[in-house]
């Protein structure tokens, strides 16, 4: 049993279930993102292969933040930060309908499971904290991996390298990079 890293190419055969990292959802939605084309192709292949898709609330949270930052930067030519939001919470309302529209469309994906409630929270917390130590992951990535392992999901789709050095012996995990 091991972790396998697979570079995505169109037409690839997927495992039965994959966890969607936030970046594929955002990149496939934003046609001005650097990875738009590969992300959209990959999402199309996941759909056409009828792969079971998993996300958690964490993914939605990250999706919202990524787009909020991009909207704000595009419209104001500066970066959004916590000081700006605390000083003017109305900033959030400015982009709310677009954010909500995107989230609504994600939740319409067929074969998508919002898995946050499928595992007792205490088990996830314990697992994630343990993974931080054993896999040297950031807290957020440890939580993603905790869900993947607890739900026995076969793979993850991501563009970043945060999971490249995993050493997992008890489970096969395929990491699809695009």
């Amino acid at each position: 049993m091991a972790v396998a890293i697979v570079n995505y190419t169109p037409g690839i055969i997927f495992v039965n279930s994959v966890y969607l990292d936030t970046n594929i959802l955002v990149s496939a939605r934003d046609r001005k993102s650097q990875r738009y084309n590969s992300a959209a192709l990959l999402l199309g292949d996941l759909f056409s292969n009828e792969v079971d898709l998993f996300i958690t609330n964490l993914v939605i949270d990250e999706y919202i933040w990524a787009l909020l930052r991009a909207y704000y930067r595009r419209d104001n030519r500066k970066e959004l930060n916590q000081h700006i939001i605390k000083a003017n919470p109305q900033v959030l309302l400015q982009y709310h309908w677009r954010i909500a529209s995107g989230v609504k469309k994600i939740l319409k994906f067929r074969r998508l499971t919002l898995a946050s409630n499928l595992v007792p929270s205490k088990e996830i917390v314990v697992k994630a904290v343990n993974l931080m130590r054993t896999q040297l992951l950031s807290p957020r990535d440890a939580f993603h991996l905790a869900f993947i392992m607890k739900l026995n999901i076969d793979g993850i789709v991501t563009s970043d390298g945060d999971f490249d050095n995993l050493q997992i012996r008890r489970k096969n995990l395929t990491i699809y990079k695009y």
Binding site: T22, N23, V26, S27, A28, R29, D30, R31, K32, S33, Q34, Y36, N37, A40, L41, L43, G44, F47, S48, E50, E62, W65, A66, L67, R69, A70, Y71, R73, R74, D75, E79, N81, Q82, H83, W97, R98, G102, K105, I106, K108, F109, R110, S138, R140, D160
Partner: protein, 93 residues
Amino acid sequence: MLDILMASETRDYQIKSTKTDIKPKYKSHTPTMVQKINPILSGTHFYERYKGLNLLYYQQIMDTKDFEIFIGFVGEEIVGVKERDFEVYYPED
């Protein structure tokens, strides 16, 4: 059904989009592939959104509902997300 969905979705998008999002120019060299799917929407805006995606292929191999959801989701935003936007621990300044 597909034409209705796409027309409706695009109209909704154009109404709510900021002015920088709207590129209503229509050119004559739109690919045949797009014209076959929906001649009304065969313009630059449509082409840019789905360029590189073989929609006819997806339409053939995907379940109809899957296809509608797919084309309604991909490429709708034009914001230029950067890698750092995915960082949970974002720099304050």
